[in-house]
Amino acid sequence: MKPDTFKNKIVPVTTILLALIAIWYVAAVLMNAPFQRDMDSRAGATPTTFEFVGKTLAQPKPILPAPHQVAQNVYENTVLRSLSSNRSLVYHGWVTLSSTLLGFGFGMLLGILLAVLIVHNRAMDRSLMPWLVASQTIPILAIAPMIVIISYNVLTGDNALAHLLNLDSDASRLVSKALISTYLSFFPVAVGMVKGLRSPEIIYLDLMRTYYASPMQTFWKLRVPASIPFLFTSMKVAIAASLVGAIVGELPTGAVAGIGSKLLAGSYYSQTIDIWAALVVGSLLAGVLVAIVGLAGKIVDRAMGGRPA
């Protein structure tokens, strides 16, 4: 750790985090107050302001749970539970993470593939792009159940594809969820990569022409390196989208496992604290994933002679 990591990273992050938490507490009191007042008046209680605030922060099903309630829930469900327990957020987080990563991998491949086709083939550029856009306007939650159910049935059914892949039912469930992540993550990658692959200055392309470089060579030696900044920016968006996809994909599986199932289960029973705990874990996961992509981007940039700002 460099000496100024503390000054440059930890101090700002904690300060802003503390500020957010303070705002959160205020909001929690304000939002939970009407219901508390309601309860008190029905119970005929007249608490002091201090007691009242205390109560708004200790409701079992608050509109906005207080940070410490969420923290306690997260703590109980991560540290205090065995990893394999159905109630462990670590377990659910892992389930979600695995399909996020798988879907992200597929999405990257698909997105890059499409971008390559679009950049190299005029017919593709003109005919494919509008339909890629259209595909993204389909509300996934509407078709997610169909996709997950149908692909799960296909993967576990009696057909050529299933025999070829020969996945067991857990793997099939994973893949069918990951398809939703793929669907959400390929688009940012495709759009970013089309831009990135077309970003080299014209003189650089001219240089390649003078060498009569093949399209492949121009691609690998010029377009790809030039697209790296765009790639990493898109990857950040894509991995976040992929996580959202994984969570959405978990809903139609009947809330069996994953952050999504925790959210859903929480919302059936208005267990807002559970919901927020799952949200917090999901967000932490997202933060870590995006940070990892960012770090990878920095390392690659350095290796490519990137100039320190």
Partner: protein, 261 residues
């Protein structure tokens, strides 16, 4: 017997379509460059020197007229990797070290292993950049970048060299040195060289043929065949013959400028 023609342009015209109307960059250019020629192009800024080289290199399509390179169309010549091109700006890839920038054409053209390493070392040595192999372009000074880009074009074997002001950002000493080296290389390999420069002495010192151009629209106003001997020590620049040719070039340039400045 005359050497075979390498570049031959007939009534070549090129018009750029800009946002505010067409720009006539080349107008009825007629030129014949023969194998082994060292042709310098000289002319005011904006007269179409770069444009002409770009047409030869098949980076720009002429609007009318004819041009052939080694008897082929520019496109065929490019695909035959007939030439090496030094751009006016260095155009080094920022993500490659100097060494790898020079390796780029070698990779593409399939020069492998030890041959590649040797060529890179030789080219770097030629432009006095040994020791800077591992640097990235932004860590070099302007002149060093330009030299790296020259090294890149010299690292592979092309019979035709197109050089667009390669020595513009270099001091006199380095420039003299590179002039000598280029002449040696030219004599040794019998390459054909098309060379854009703004320095009249440089043009006269190097060339077998000097093409004077004038702007708006770009056209060739004078083609001077050098009467200087093939063997040219640096002090040839003080001979009356040299000064005579230089004078003729200067006059040509001045008329080209007459209607502006």
């Amino acid at each position: 017997m005359q050497a075979p023609s390498v570049v031959s342009a007939k009534d070549l015209c090129l018009t750029y379509q800009a946002n505010d109307g067409p720009v006539r960059a080349l107008s009825d250019v007629n030129l014949d460059v023969r194998k082994g020629d060292f042709v310098s192009f000289i002319g005011p800024s904006g007269c179409g020197k770069t444009t002409f080289l770009r047409v030869i290199a098949d980076l720009e399509k002429s609007t009318s007229g004819e041009i052939s390179i080694n008897g082929m169309t520019p496109e065929e010549a490019r695909k035959a990797r007939a030439y090496g091109y030094v751009f006016q700006a260095p155009a080094l890839y920022p993500w490659r070290t100097i060494e790898n920038n020079i390796a780029l054409p070698l990779e593409i053209m399939g020069y492998g292993g030890a041959d590649r390493t040797r060529r890179i070392a030789e080219a770097l040595d030629l432009v006095s950049l040994s020791g800077f192999e591992k640097k990235f372009p932004w860590q070099l000074s302007g002149g060093m970048q330009q030299r790296a880009s020259i090294a890149r074009a010299l690292a592979f074997d092309a019979d035709l060299l197109l050089m667009d002001e390669p020595f513009g950002a270099l001091d006199e000493i380095v420039r003299d040195h590179l002039n000598e080296e280029l002449l040696k290389l030219w004599a040794r390999t019998n390459k054909t060289i098309c060379f854009v420069t703004h320095s009249i002495p440089e043009a006269v010192y190097l060339s077998t043929k000097i093409v004077v151009m004038s702007p708006r629209p770009g056209r060739v106003t004078d083609v001077i065949d050098s009467t200087l001997p093939a063997e040219r020590p640096l002090d040839i620049r003080d001979t009356p013959e040299f000064l005579g040719i230089a004078h003729r070039v200067r006059e040509g340039l001045r008329t080209g400028h007459s209607h502006e400045v």
